[in-house]
């Protein structure tokens, strides 16, 4: 089983649609969950991060983490053509685990390519 799985898409939606992006993971030691946005041939840009389970909202973006299901989501409301990019989920172990010999490396999903059509 892959450590982090993400449907690569592509996903094409009309402008104004609600977009749902998801990842599943297998390692229960992951505690921090991130969403990065990556434009073509550019570096990943941090969008949001969440610690442990719960929701976090930032403008049109909402991140959800369900640790019991090992499932994370990113919702984009009122999607815009400028949201067209590849969205990468990433996760890492907690700082406490790091101190106990864990890992702080980010483990990424493969990314979902999103196109928002005007």
């Amino acid at each position: 089983q892959k450590e982090v799985e993400q449907d690569p898409g592509p996903l094409s939606v009309p402008e104004g649609a609600i977009v749902s992006l998801n990842c599943t993971y297998s390692n229960s030691a992951f505690q921090y969950f991130m969403w990065y946005r990556q434009y073509s041939r550019k570096g990943p840009e941090l969008l949001m991060y969440t610690y442990s389970s719960g929701n976090k909202e930032d403008g049109r973006f909402t991140a959800q983490v369900d640790k019991s299901s090992k499932y994370i989501s990113l919702f984009i409301r009122d999607s815009q053509p400028s949201d067209s990019a590849t969205y990468l989920c990433a996760m890492t172990m907690s700082y406490i685990t790091l101190n106990q010999g864990g890992s702080e490396k980010l483990v990424f999903g493969k990314g979902t390519k999103l196109t928002v059509n005007p």
């Binding site: 991130m34 041939r41 550019k42 172990m93 700082y95 790091l98 490396k105 980010l106 990424f108």
Partner: protein, 115 residues
């Protein structure tokens, strides 16, 4: 807004040659990372660096790779004898002291092509 910078943006080299990729992390950050992304594949962790030493490395980071913080601002990745399969986008990232990996900020990357 402070950002991670990387040079060069593109590098083409012959197989067997040495390359050095350079990064300037965000100024108050103390943890540094290199990742790579082969075209069409996941972003993969290579190495983390703190307090002038490697804190973690992946199986990809073999003896052909090395990292260095030669001065107070630069962080470099050296590939001693490049192979065709080293062709990839290489990203530097940094984070501030305190907190966990959620605050890793990435640079724009160096696209390395090995011929």
């Amino acid at each position: 807004e402070p950002e991670v910078t990387q040079t060069p943006s593109h590098q083409v080299t012959q197989m067997g040659q040495e390359v050095i990729l350079r990064c300037v992390p965000i100024s108050n950050h103390l943890y540094f990372y290199w990742y790579r992304q082969i075209l069409g594949q996941k972003v993969e962790f290579l190495v983390s660096f703190y307090n002038n030493e490697i804190s973690e490395k992946s199986e990809i980071f073999d003896d052909q790779f090395s990292v260095e913080r030669p001065d107070g601002s630069n962080f470099t990745l050296k590939i001693r004898s490049t192979k065709l399969e080293d062709s990839a986008m290489y990203f530097c990232a940094s984070r501030e002291i305190g907190g966990a990996g959620e605050t890793q900020y990435f640079g724009p990357g160096t696209r390395l092509l090995v011929l």
